[in-house]
């Protein structure tokens, strides 16, 4: 009886071994299938941007370019050198940088201070204040577009980078506050109490004690804000046009402009240029990017 039991065990083992091997292959097959779905557009973008229009018409999406041809990248970035109607990304890329840097800085700073007060200097009704701010994460911006356009007009900063900095700073505050509040909640309040007993004041505690240990959340917040603002199209297209436009708006205009024959290679090169900064951030700091996504998940 012992032997028969041992052999049943053996059979069970064998059987589960084969089903396991089959399942594993199936698993990898599906995973790779989806990986190709996700990688496919990026591949197409890159190959297309390196082809000439002639090659594009003759080959298919997947065909490899005959030579590494960066002409369309040059055109996308710097234009062809003739005057009117020659749109290219370079000036708009700088617009975006000029918009992103201050907007990220201000919104992060305001959010950090707000998060600090909401967790370490609690006052009556602070929960409601937090909720009040948090709600700003969820509103559809269509509900504020009209008055914002008028306000920027009144302030004389419509169609300017400064106007966009203001818009992005304001609508970033709910998110940055959320990030910092959730981070500071997990830091023991004893730390602040100890510092107060040692005679440190409101600002000293913030700058000398909390800020130095806030590196991870600052990284998360900065990456989140950078990605959001860089990728924004709604505000950019509504509040700016022509020379003050950020890169996403310029990209869209380039692709849509129907002045001459469609140049798909230039389109793809432009799209890559517009996407590269956020992609680089994603590849370098993916962990923080994902952390921001899952905690600031509320936005689109």
């Amino acid at each position: 009886m012992q032997d028969s039991l041992q052999s049943t065990y053996k059979q069970l083992e064998q059987k589960s071994k084969y089903t396991n091997i089959f399942l594993r292959w199936f698993l990898y097959f599906i995973l790779i299938l989806f990986a190709s779905y996700f990688i496919f557009p990026l591949y197409v973008m890159i190959v297309t941007s390196l082809k000439t229009m002639e090659e594009i018409r003759q080959g298919t999406l997947l065909t490899w370019p005959s030579a590494l041809n960066f002409d369309s990248w040059a055109v996308a970035w710097g234009g062809r050198g003739y005057g009117a109607g020659d749109t290219f990304l370079k000036p708009y890329f700088w617009n975006s940088i000029k918009m992103v840097v201050p907007a990220v800085f201000f919104s992060t700073f305001i959010g950090a201070m707000a998060g600090y007060v909401l967790t370490k200097w609690r006052f009556k009704g602070d929960k409601w204040v937090f909720l009040f701010l948090l709600f700003g994460c969820f509103i559809p911006y269509q509900a504020i577009l009209l008055p914002m356009a008028r306000t920027l007009g009144v302030l004389g900063i419509s169609n300017s980078v400064i106007g966009l900095v203001l818009v992005h700073t304001v609508y970033g505050i709910p998110f940055t506050t959320l990030f910092f509040r959730n981070f500071y909640v997990s830091i023991p309040t004893e730390l602040v109490k100890a510092a107060r007993i040692d005679g440190a004041g409101f600002f000293k505690i913030f700058f000398k004690i909390l800020l130095p240990i806030s590196a991870p959340i600052i990284v998360v917040t900065v990456i989140w804000q950078f990605t959001q603002i860089w990728n924004d199209f709604l505000f950019g297209s509504t509040f700016s046009f022509g020379e003050a436009a950020p890169i996403q708006v310029a990209l869209n205009n380039m692709v849509l402009s129907s002045t001459s024959v469609k140049e798909y290679n230039v389109d793809m090169a432009s799209a890559i240029i517009a996407g590269i900064p956020t992609l680089i951030v994603y590849v370098l700091a993916g962990k923080y990017f994902i952390r921001g996504l899952t905690s600031g998940a509320v936005k689109g």
């Binding site: 012992q2 039991l5 041992q6 065990y9 069970l12 083992e13 589960s16």
Partner: protein, 364 residues
Amino acid sequence: MKTLKIKELSKNFGTTEVLRKINLEIDEGNFLVLLGPSGCGKSTLLNIIAGLETINEGNVFIDDYNVSKVEPKDRNIAMVFQSYALYPSMNVRENMIFGLKQAKTSKEKIEEQLEKVSKFLQVDQLLERKPSQLSGGQRQRVAIGRALVREPRIFLFDEPLSNLDAKLRVEMRREIKKLHQQLKTTVVYVTHDQTEAMSLGTNIAIMNHGVIQQNDTPENIYNKPSNTFVADFIGSPSMNLIKGNLKENSGDIFFVASGSNLEVPIKDYDFKDKSNLNNKEVFFGIRPEHIFFKKLHETYFEITLRADLSEYIGHEQIVTFDYANQEVLAKFSSTIKIELAKEIRLYFDLTQASLFDAQTQERI
């Protein structure tokens, strides 16, 4: 036939050796406690018995069948976890019968088992509740119930009481003891708490660095620790280990502490090996509770030591003495008045003393 037998078992995670050539046997109906500090490999050993962890070398036998490569569900075991591991989305009933359902047990049998066990553990009123609606003790009961309904050959417990508060822990400990007495099941129980181990186990295996240091009855573990690790690990405060040398003088053997001239006679000590004892470097081990303030027995050895410190802990006090610049702790009733910084006459119960080789740390 041994209910559980482990032969030459080794396990490593990458390059770290977690278990080294473990050998262990348990008879039917015994309660084996695996005791040791965290990281000693006791939980890994339990997981290997359960089949949740693979083996690098050696084998596990249940009822003399080699189950080393058998799936956990086919090993006829049940396990109770530290976090209880109740399925949060199922109510108590579903939690308890989940295993039977997976094993395609008949409906009547399931109902019968459920009724029997839930009555026995007094959870029959809670069957429709979700785990989140239960108290810690109730969750513990359900977790035990989930193991019981399967009527396994061996119960495995992985630190089941460490998530409970101190009072509840003592209560549940007694219940587990009762359970074992009534059901006479075979149990392997992992803990880092020596009181739990002492009170529950019929056998205790003390582990450290992936090696079993001593596998014995609780009495032997306490009275005859097989090395300094066990001596130090068991008891609170732990055994005094006084460094010194053995002296042989015309057939009689004495212990002399380093830095002292006092000869402590070692009579009727059960040496493993009587040869080469003269001048051997040893640790002389005596438990704080075997040092007395009064000569209660003829054989007690009188010694005078200076009292340095007294810690009051309620019904008892722990007094620290100086023995030739080595600390010696003793436990007295707190009614005794001890004058500090004074030489005080004390009595060692030498029948309870242990001797360890200073080099190998082993009992001699």
